[in-house]
Amino acid sequence: MSKTSCHCFVVVLLLLLQVAVVHAAFVYENHVGTTQWKVEVKVDETGCGGGVETEDVPVTIKHDNTLADVGDFGHGPVRGTFNGNVLTIPGRTIPDGSGESQLYEAKIQFTSDCLGFSGSYRWNYEDSYQECSGTTSLRGTRNDGKECPAQAGVLSQREQIEAARKELDDVSKEREYQEILDKDPQNFWANWDMAELRKKQGKAGESLKYVDAATSNKNILASTRAKLKQEELKRLNLATVPTPFTSPLLRESIGEADRWAGGFQYDVSVPKDAAADKNKWRFLIWTINAPDSGNLVNRAMGLPGDE
């Protein structure tokens, strides 16, 4: 073998390895999110005197790492467990017509390109007239995309946020963030960064709207506030967390925050209703007055996909 052809062979081998690594990177057991499927459900009832019936059913699967809540494809919703790309749905007994069916455990293999799955399970049917057995086969086709969900979801969103932050001009930044917000209007990172951008541009009213959108997700708001509490404790060099019971000043501040009757924040008229969600409102007041609040939130929250 010549030296040149040897080099070519190594390059091709490396490329093949890279492709293999990319495809191997996705496993459903590490995925959090939702996938949509068209499931062809084929029920073989020949053992019960019937025929073979096929039906297409739309099914949603909610993934939470190894746990998967699978929508109804014939016997009601069910929770399964992923091990790699194999979903195991436990056996169970369900009421069925005038009798009941015992469903056996199902092992469903999801394809590594994330576009399909297939599997089958046996079942026994029993009522007062007969006992019989049959098989149900499932074949799923992805309805919500043509690539692995992690590549279209958290990973690309993280990359988009990173890319937007690296942009030097505001127009490009806004375009990047808007792309994210078009798909996910309550996205914390895109809204937060847009709020900071508008604040820098002196557009306080719009900045407040983006903060409002960023904090619409109660879970994210709660986790952000919890992290910021620790950050502020360090910044203020306090050994213990002040509370309304230990600090008259904090008690007064909270009282004032909660009595907001409408008025101006910056030059924007903010109605009384804006303070209806107390946690959100108190966070907004912190955002407005605490120094370097934008960067502190960024440090505390990291990027999509961070722990």
Binding site: A204, R225, L228, K229, E231, E232, R235, L236, N237, L238, A239, T240, V241, P242, T243, P244, T246, S247, P248, L249, L250, R251, E252, S253, I254, E256, A257, W260, A261, G263, F264, Q265, Y266, R282, F283, I285, W286, I288, N289, A290, P291, S293
Partner: protein, 142 residues
């Protein structure tokens, strides 16, 4: 006829003079007080607000639930708020954090924001100083 006109004008002046203080009292929170009197000494917040609005050199000290504050306005329309002594019931670490901290707010004559004197947390968006920072940061614990 001329006598009637003079009487009418006097009556009008009297009515306007009588109504002016009432209008001042009903100024809503968050807006600039419409005030003309500018006393050189004050003991109340209302008096201070009126004087500060006219950019008078003046300082008052007021004890409130959160502590003892000094409020100062100057001829060049600069407002300074200082937390002279925090409430005695604050923990030692909070007293150390708060004691003597100030904030300043620049304003235009006639546009004094009375919330600087009536509120701990509102109206400070364009102000600067350690007191603003600390009051803002403490909202993280609210």
């Amino acid at each position: 006829m001329k006598g009637h006109t003079v009487t009418l004008l006097c009556g009008l002046v009297f009515i306007i003079a009588a109504c002016a203080p009432a209008a001042q009292q009903t100024t809503p929170s968050g807006t600039e007080p419409q005030t003309t009197p500018t006393p050189s000494t004050c003991t109340t917040k209302d008096c201070f607000i009126a004087s500060a609005n006219a950019c008078t050199d003046l300082t008052i000290t007021v004890t409130e639930a959160a502590g003892t504050f000094s409020y100062a306005s100057s001829n060049d329309c600069l407002f300074t708020k200082t937390l002279v002594t925090p409430n005695a019931n604050e923990t030692q670490q909070m007293k150390t954090l708060l004691q003597g901290k100030s904030l300043t707010c620049k304003y235009v004559k006639g546009k004094f924001d009375q919330r600087w004197v009536t509120s701990l947390i509102y109206g400070m968006e364009y102000c600067k100083g350690q007191l603003k920072d600390v009051l803002g940061q403490l909202m993280a614990f609210a």
